[in-house]
């Protein structure tokens, strides 16, 4: 800190860097850039690289491990594997995905997909319908109901789990079936989804709706023909957030489905393996990455929506 270079750009600053492209960069000064230079630019780069290494090494370690043979994994650390590149193998993934074997994760993977698709679509539909009513259709008790839905965001889902399980099992007869998790994920998503989509709808100009009404369009037509297309960004942001939430969920599935291969998702199975076969790293490492591949791919492909969804969905749960 003694060598404060006031006003100097951080060492890593590169004026030819084109990102973000929308703003001219030459004259723009950054508040944080100054703080970084105050930290002394060399140290700043060092600390940034250190954090980046600390944050990626654990994942890298397990990734390397997932490509090593069962014997090697227990005999030596993954950091020694690079001295023998011929030793890498796909055997762990083959075993983890082989249909029929007791260690197979493939049917759990299928369960995760089957759980996730309706559990993302249903709340999106129901919430946009309700949001439209709350935003643009006057009906008695509307404001009170909307405040109630809004307030339900802070209720932790734990508080509903046991009575819900009782309702599913003893009143509806679902037992350990997909229907329990589809409905539960929908219920737990509704307060946030309704609130977000409502906010987005309120931003739309009222003239849009009024003009359509004058032309004789009913609410159903307006909803499908005018609103849904305009809502795509909001739906995408929430959809991705909900997708990740459901795909990565452990608690809801554990409570309503248990560990049965007929219905349980891959998170439940991998968590179970970690408890019962905690030293079977060949299986755990491959299993962990099989469960991560889809959300990571979605993250890389849709980063912008993804971030927006996360920003929006902070309070969920």
């Amino acid at each position: 800190m003694s060598t404060v270079q006031t006003g100097a750009l951080p060492e890593s600053f590169d004026p030819t860097d084109l990102e973000p492209p929308s703003k001219p960069r030459k004259a723009k000064k950054s508040a944080s850039g100054d703080a970084a230079s105050a930290l002394n630019s060399r140290w700043a780069s060092f600390v940034a690289v250190l954090i980046a290494v600390l944050w990626t090494t654990p994942t890298l370690g397990l990734l390397v491990t997932s490509f090593r043979s069962q014997r090697d994994i227990n005999k030596s650390g993954w950091w020694t594997a690079f001295s023998d590149p011929g030793g890498f193998t796909l055997e762990n993934y083959r075993q983890a995905l082989a249909p029929g074997s007791s260690a197979s994760l493939s049917q759990y993977f299928v369960n995760t997909i089957v759980i996730t698709v309706p559990a993302v679509m249903l709340p999106l539909f129901l919430a946009s319908l309700a949001a439209y009513a709350f935003a643009w259709m006057p009906f008695p008790g509307r404001n009170a109901l909307f405040v109630a839905v809004f307030a339900l965001q802070i209720v932790p889902l734990q508080i509903a789990l046991i009575p819900l399980l009782d309702i599913y099992s003893n009143k509806l007869g679902f037992g350990a079936s997909y229907w329990s998790v589809w409905l539960s994920h929908t219920i737990f998503a509704l307060p946030l989804a309704t609130f977000l989509i409502h906010n987005f709808m309120r931003e739309l100009p009222a003239e849009l709706m009024e003009a359509a009404r004058v032309d004789g369009a009913g609410h159903v037509t307006i909803f499908f023909k005018i609103l849904l297309p305009l809502l795509t960004p909001a739906l995408a942001a929430f959809g991705i957030f909900q997708f990740l939430w459901v795909w990565n969920d452990l608690l809801v599935s554990l409570v309503f489905l248990g560990g049965s291969p007929d219905v349980a998702p891959i998170t439940v199975r991998v968590a179970e393996l970690s408890g019962s076969r905690g030293s079977a790293w060949y299986l755990l490492s491959a299993g962990a990455f099989i469960s991560m591949i889809v959300p990571v791919a979605v993250f890389l492909a849709l980063q912008r929506f993804f971030v927006r969804g996360l920003l929006a969905g902070g309070l969920k749960g």
Binding site: K75, Y132, P163, S285
Partner: protein
Amino acid sequence: MAASLLSIAPSGIPEPLLRAQSTTGKFLLMFFAVAVFAIVFGLVLLLASRFKGRNGEKAQGALFAAPAVLLLAVGLMYPAILTVIQSLRGKKGDGSFSLSNYAAMFTQPELLIVLRNTALWVILVPFLATGIGLLYAILIDRARGEAFAKALIFLPMAISMVGASIIWKFVYQYKQTERPQIGLLNQILKWFGLETQNFLLDAPLNTLMLIVVMVWIQAGFAMTILSAAIKAIPDDIIEAAHLDGVYGVKMFRFITLPSIRAALVVVLTTIGIGTLKVFDIVRTMTAGQFKTSVVANEFYNQSFRYDAAGLGAALAVLLFVLVIPIVAYNIVQMRKEA
């Protein structure tokens, strides 16, 4: 309790509509469900379009909101009320009304440890994750390859907490000092000539080791939001400060920090609420053994493993009660900003 409930299915619903063994069957079930939901959805709309005139308008609005409102009433409000009642009816949740579960939470030594651990989590995780996220956001701001640098830290947000727990369990893996190590952290200890440690066994160190995992996950969230807030500071404010000779640490203290205050509050409270409900990490890494349990994990154990539904319900209510001050703080701070 869970096992007994899951095994009963006293309904007229035919088995093929509930469960499927084959992959094809499962996907058929999925399409069937989507179709059922679509039909219900269509019926509501059809019904709505039948209403005409002034009162019809109101009926349509009520109908549009009805499915979501009904689901929330039956699936969230009603169960929450049942849980509150159950928490007042003794350890198993079926006795006479008393406050015994709440008394137990604050007197039983094991449950006091749970509360202490939860307090540790809720204090440490938000501040550590936010601190690291802010530091990193500042360090890489406008640096070469910023998007890539951000993605590295942000990626843990995308994976499940179960996956994150397994990644870190492997880092903490223990072998005796003389044997070759497979866990990176113990290998590092060994390189420094120290004895290897069983990180997940020894309290209170093990709780801190679990907290590291949550910080690892949440730092990316903090970094993303704070980075956006930093970039949103108007240029003229920065230039005016420069004209006044404000640079470096002073710049951070008097310009950057006040400008991103609102974002900081959002990040801290959001991570705080998420941490309060942390379950997956504790469950996957230690299952709450070795004095590492937290409220959300203890709720699960008491309800589903120790047959103490009443105590479990009380813990769920406690979670709800603990969320309220965090949300209230958030709202008060936001009001101040506005």
